[in-house]
């Protein structure tokens, strides 16, 4: 742990946080625009050309809004909850490599396009999201409101259930790549993207990822028809914006991990476009799928959601893992 490493990591962290916050702002605009088009409306187009300054206007509005708070709240936990959510969301991006070691050289070695390239790789993401559950749960508990508590209970139950399927659907990738390091996983896909041999695992991951981020059609925690707004019912102004931010950043992260483990990360066909552009392009395509699903599918009933998680996705991902393991061992000829 030299000073150079600390300085390099700090610089990268600042860049990643800045990038994620900008990404979040424009993802909200992207979602509103795409949804509007899918519903044959123009969408936001008044603030700036094509509505491009809309996120800035929204941010200013949320910043200057008065924050009303419920009187029976738990003061400390009420403030802590949104911070846990945002910190968990931001720090899970640390392992994501946007590109391999690039041409940029600093301190005498080539700088990689990632904050850290650790041996445990994806386990870091799973660990951080399992702590992120506390943010949502404490928000519901500290608000002292029945809608918030019900939303928080649903949300945490859903996140814990789908985390199993999410983690297990990634195991076939680890078996094929022989490593948990995301950089190694991407390099193993130089010729064939893992989506080709592992198509079922990709769909399992995508469904579990949508449930994990509490997005439509699995947005039961904030089902406005029954729960007003779920766990963030009693939050307003900037504190509400923090939860909003955490949800959208989690969408970006789930899409980024899908890009890296299944869609070949920064590798693109025919050698056109440099690596990072391919990464961003694939992430945008996956984010479009998120928005598309929200505009298309109605919300699921809660018991069906749990049944889908435990009775379909979980056994299927276990089966996928076993099949992959058997095939890999058989192909190596040691069976």
């Amino acid at each position: 742990m030299t000073t150079e490493v600390v300085v390099e990591t700090l610089i990268k962290t600042v860049i990643v946080i800045f990038g994620l916050l900008t990404g979040f702002a424009y993802l909200t605009l992207f979602e509103r625009k795409v949804q509007a088009r899918l519903q044959q409306r123009p969408g936001p187009n008044r603030v700036g050309p094509w509505g491009l300054l809309q996120p800035a206007a929204d941010g200013l509005k949320l910043f200057f809004k008065s924050s009303s708070t419920p009187s029976g709240r738990d003061r400390f936990l009420y403030l802590l909850a949104p911070l846990i959510s945002v910190c968990a969301a931001l720090s899970s991006f640390a392992i994501i490599p946007i590109s391999g070691p690039g041409p940029l050289r600093l301190f005498g070695h080539s700088i990689g396009w990632y904050v850290m390239n650790v041996n445990i790789g994806v386990l870091w993401y799973l660990a951080v999201t399992s702590v992120g559950v506390f943010g949502i749960f404490l928000a519901g508990y500290a608000s002292n409101s029945k809608y918030s508590l019900l939303g928080a209970l649903r949300s945490s139950a859903q996140m814990i259930s789908y985390e199993m399927a999410l983690g297990l659907s990634l195991v076939p990738v680890f078996i094929l790549a022989g490593s948990l390091r995301l950089v190694d996983i991407v390099n193993a896909q130089h010729t064939w993207w893992f989506i080709i041999p592992l198509l079922p695992a990709f769909f399992l991951y995508l469904v579990a990822g949508i449930a994990e981020t509490n997005r439509a059609p699995f947005d039961l925690p904030e089902a406005e028809t029954e729960l007003v707004a779920g766990y963030h019912t009693e939050y307003s102004g900037m504190r509400f914006a923090l939860f909003f931010m955490a949800e959208y950043i989690n969408m970006i992260i789930v899409s980024s991990i899908a890009t890296i483990v299944f869609l070949g990360g920064w590798w693109g066909p025919f050698g056109i476009l440099p690596g990072p552009w391919w990464f961003v392009l694939k992430v945008i395509v996956l984010l479009y799928v998120y928005v598309w699903l929200r505009a298309t599918l109605p919300r699921m009933r809660y018991d069906r959601l749990m049944a889908l998680g435990w009775k379909s996705l979980f056994p299927l991902s276990l089966a996928m893992m076993m099949v992959t393991a058997v095939v890999v061992v058989a192909a190596e000829g040691t069976l």
């Binding site: 738990d74 041996n119 386990l123 660990a127 399992s130 508990y141 945490s156 490593s179």
Partner: protein
């Protein structure tokens, strides 16, 4: 490294005191979460990255979320009477305190504070990779204990399902 250890150790002591010190159960549980996260950081400082991830995912994530769940749902604030310890509580406290201190003392005398170096030095582990070396050890040398533990957990899960089903019927 020593400064880092001192900070984390202080954090561990403070959160451990919080686990028994706070008056409201949800804060006790959250102090325990903080304690487990600190323990995970200690694993990380000892080069045990996989243990760090397992500690956070299993204990701080899964187990403690269930604790907090139960506390929020049952809201046991009204059931607990917290006052100065009474006669019998003093005796239990002293007996278990002495046993724990004796165990710690035996460990300290036999092993010292640094522990005993095993075959898995940081160099050996970093050569193969952290996850890889834990996995190899678990599924070769310790295969039998792993399987026995998994059967035990399976029995617990089946038992829980049985109990839940009986209540529905």
């Amino acid at each position: 490294m020593v400064v880092g250890f001192a900070i984390v150790a202080a954090w561990e002591l403070v959160t451990a005191a919080g686990v028994i010190g706070f008056r409201r159960p949800i804060y006790n549980a959250l102090a325990l979460v903080g304690n487990m996260l600190g323990l995970a950081v200690l694993f990380l400082m000892l080069n045990a990255q996989f243990l760090f991830a397992a500690q956070v995912i299993v204990y701080a994530g899964a187990v403690m979320v269930l604790f907090v769940f139960i506390i929020a749902l049952m809201n046991p604030v009204s059931d607990v009477t917290l006052g100065p310890a009474r006669g019998s509580e003093w005796i239990y406290g002293i007996v278990f305190g002495v046993i724990f201190a004796a165990l710690l003392g035996v460990l300290l005398v036999n092993q010292g504070l640094t522990g005993r170096p095993g075959p898995f030095t940081p160099e050996v582990i970093n050569a193969v990779g952290n996850v890889q070396s834990v996995g190899t050890a678990l599924y070769t040398r310790f295969l039998f204990p792993v399987e026995v533990t998994s059967v035990l957990l399976l029995i617990a899960a089946v038992g829980a399902v049985y109990l839940a089903m009986r209540r529905i019927r």
